[in-house]
């Protein structure tokens, strides 16, 4: 007799660990059930091990979950790969035969728990750079409200920029990188989030400031409810643009960027990416990653490195566009641990000569510096009732 609660727990475990991947793979028939069965018979031992790991890693009484790869995910993954390995035989029994390598490769393409994006992210980590628009200068001092007991929330600088969507005049100047080895490169896009967790003693709510900026082509005021960064899959960092859009070449890209109205930078969304990489699963990911628009890469004829280990696009003269990622300064939720970064961010920078080419093609006066600043205090969505 199977306990109904246990069954639901096993189901939830499978959905949490590999649900996205099964959905991406189009829910192969019988998979979810078979994996749930496999997890269910060992549910107690998996849970016990998970709890041991959890107790081992976290600080006593801390309510935050350390960002680790736990036994529940590990065991579910093992089940998935075992069930996946049986699929070829199941197909054969159903009368579907073919090249065994070909069949397995095509099944595995969707189901492999790929680590390449996490690795790229880690290889692109840098010490937090100072490069950012002049109006964000104040944000260089991280989470000032933590130390300063008299700090008035919200930060006045953030408050002043809330609702400002574009900068004009001197403030809209191109942001140039100050650090070697990218001195004088132009920053196409920038995103940084600073946040603290709510604590019970002393009682204080969780707080966050989100900063985004990016160059954009608007020809007029930007569309309502838009941001300075759009959203794209990460493919450009791993594949040549011709592999992503076979119809695209430099000439077409030139036409496209000369006429288009868009942000030049996009936040990377891994949602539809093979292997469903996620911040909270497998190897995890850095919170933010940026990518240039496809047309810009095509127009400049940039390509990833071989092998594509970092977020770097090159041409024959070396790196041309680079995404730098950072996670800095450690904080905790009032229980001395686990320590988590208070500041996470990324920027996208381009070599000056390439930027000049892009600027000349689009028209310097059509490129504006857009921004979005938000601040928030109180429980985050998905947190406990008191925001911890």
């Amino acid at each position: 007799m199977i306990d109904r609660d246990d069954f639901l727990r096993a189901q939830a475990m499978v959905a949490m660990a590999i649900g996205d991947r099964l959905e991406l793979a189009g829910e192969p028939p019988g998979f979810r059930g078979a994996i749930t069965d496999g997890v269910l018979v060992r549910l107690d031992s998996i849970n016990a091990r998970f709890r041991d790991q959890f107790d081992h890693l976290r600080a006593p009484s801390s309510r935050r979950i350390p960002d680790a790869y736990y036994a529940d995910e590990l065991e579910t993954e093992n089940e998935l790969q075992k069930v996946g390995a049986g699929l070829r035989a199941a197909l054969a029994l159903g009368g579907i035969l073919g090249d065994p390598f070909e069949i397995e490769r095509s099944i595995a393409a969707d189901l492999t728990p790929t680590g390449v994006w996490a690795r790229r992210s880690e290889a692109s980590r840098v010490p937090r750079p100072t490069t950012r628009p002049a109006v964000f200068e104040w944000s260089l001092h991280p989470i000032p409200w933590v130390e300063d007991k008299d700090f008035e929330w919200p930060p006045a600088d953030a408050e002043a920029l809330t609702g400002v969507r574009q900068l004009v005049g001197d403030q809209a100047e191109r942001v140039r990188v100050g650090e070697v080895p990218f001195t004088d490169w132009v920053q196409l896009g920038f995103v940084e989030r600073q946040g603290t967790f709510g604590t019970r003693y002393p009682k204080s709510p969780g707080r966050q400031v989100l900063l985004m900026s990016g160059l954009e082509v608007c020809a007029g005021s930007p569309p309502a409810n838009s941001g300075p960064l759009s959203e794209l899959p990460p493919g450009l960092w791993a594949h040549r643009y011709t592999d992503l859009d076979s119809g695209l070449d430099q000439a077409r890209a030139r036409v496209a960027i000369a006429a288009s109205r868009m942000p030049l930078t996009a936040l990377v969304s891994y949602e539809q990416t093979l292997g469903a990489p996620s911040k909270d699963r497998g190897l995890g990911l850095h919170q933010f990653c940026l990518t240039p628009q496809l047309e810009i890469v095509a127009f400049l004829d940039l390509r990833p490195e071989t092998p594509a280990l970092r977020h770097v696009l090159i041409d024959d003269h070396g790196p041309g566009i680079v995404c730098r990622q950072w996670s800095s300064y450690l904080i905790h939720g009032g229980n001395y641990g686990p320590l988590e970064p208070a500041v996470v961010g990324a920027d996208l920078i381009i070599r000056p000569d390439l930027f000049d080419t892009v600027e000349a093609t689009i028209g310097a006066d059509r490129i504006d510096l857009g921004l979005t600043v938000r601040h928030h205090q109180g429980p985050e969505p998905g947190d406990g009732p008191d925001g911890q």
Partner: protein, 497 residues
Amino acid sequence: MNVWLAELGFEDARVQTALEELLETQTSAADPIVVAALRMAAGSEWRRPNIDLEVLTRLQPEVGRTSQADAVLTSVANNIAASYDDQPLMYASETTKSVATADLIDAVVALGGSAFAVREARKDKDENNPSFDRRTDPADLLKVLESRQRPVLPAGRDGAISAARDYDNKDYRDDVGEARWSFDALVNAIGWRVLETTQSDGAEAGIELLDDVAREISIYSENLVFAAVGEGLAERCDDTTTGVNTVASYCLALAYTRIRGGGGWRNFAGRERADLWVTAYALDPYTAERKLAAAVGRTAQSNSVAFYGVTQAIISAFAAQPTASAGGTAIDCWNAAYDVLRVRVPGTPARGHHTYNPTTTPDKFDDLNDALATLAVASISQGMRADLRRALLAVTLLLTCRPSIAQTALVRVLEHPLDAARITWLLEVVRDCLPSGQLTDEMAASLMRLAQTDLLSVRVLAAEILAAHKKPVPVPPATEPAARVRLAFSQFVQEHE
């Protein structure tokens, strides 16, 4: 490495300590790439500017060989530099707070990494520091006045007891420099009275007075007064007929059992003050022994908290000065305790778990590199996602710059039963980074085995690598499908026919 791989997803303090020790001792000896990989594996909570500087400086000659290697070296330099960003902004006692140095930043830049500003460590405020000075409070004026004068003490026994009782009122904030709390005055007040009683009424009266005083002083306060009184008495016992030596011995043994060791955590004064016992024993073995035995007996009858530290203290004392009576050496204590300890200690206590056989010649250089590289690769067993990502960056560095050492290490690690995801992640690095034509036979054999496991992603990747390096690829075995999948697929096929 075995310890690490035995428990996937757990940290292990032993491995961490060994790894840090190796980084500190082998950084200049081993292959620079291997050391850098080991540094990446050291986890997010470890960084040491001087060692990082050496690691990065030694990587310098590796720059410029291939563009792939340069890219990885830059990533590693940036990542090590970025570890100096992990600076706590809130009070966190166990986290390293070391900051980067200018030399270190130069070394990062020399490898193609980013320059950065030094992140200063947060200054820890002293949380115990009282936020106001109590003496500036007018209500405490009386206390200020009081603290400047000594209490009036009656002569004889009553005076000694009053002095002890008064001193026990001392608050830890009270200034020992003030007349009221003068330690010397306390020792004089008690010591001379004990000496007087002993000389007039005999040793037993002296001991009785010491016991009376001891009752007035909390065992959790310092109790140093007994050591000082004992030493004072010991200096004044040239004449053994009066019994002062007996009282001094008793007083020092009393001090040894009352003063708390280990910074106050342990009962008995422990190894730090074994000298008290040695002096007490020299003055009068019989009295010292009896006093110690009585204190141990009382502890054994009291609550369980009081045991803590007593065994250690007794063994330390006997190691410094064994007793004449039977069973009074440190070894005897160990032997007597063995039957109890063997039940309490986890695992099976036995000598000969591991015998260290020193080698006659130094280890071969290659062995050192292989061992350190294996340890770096084995860091894939860790639990925290950030550590796992760094472990893979270490493997990337090894495979790109030292393919042969990397494969030796990978083969050793892959012999252990890892989970599907960890093997997949490792094999993905092999697929992406192993230079063409560099696949070793040993690694090929390992891949042959992995290409026939019952884990889909593992066998597909292993086959892919073998094919890419033009090696024979075994046909994947026909793994028995799960009943549900077989059923679902036969329905699926029927519906689509």
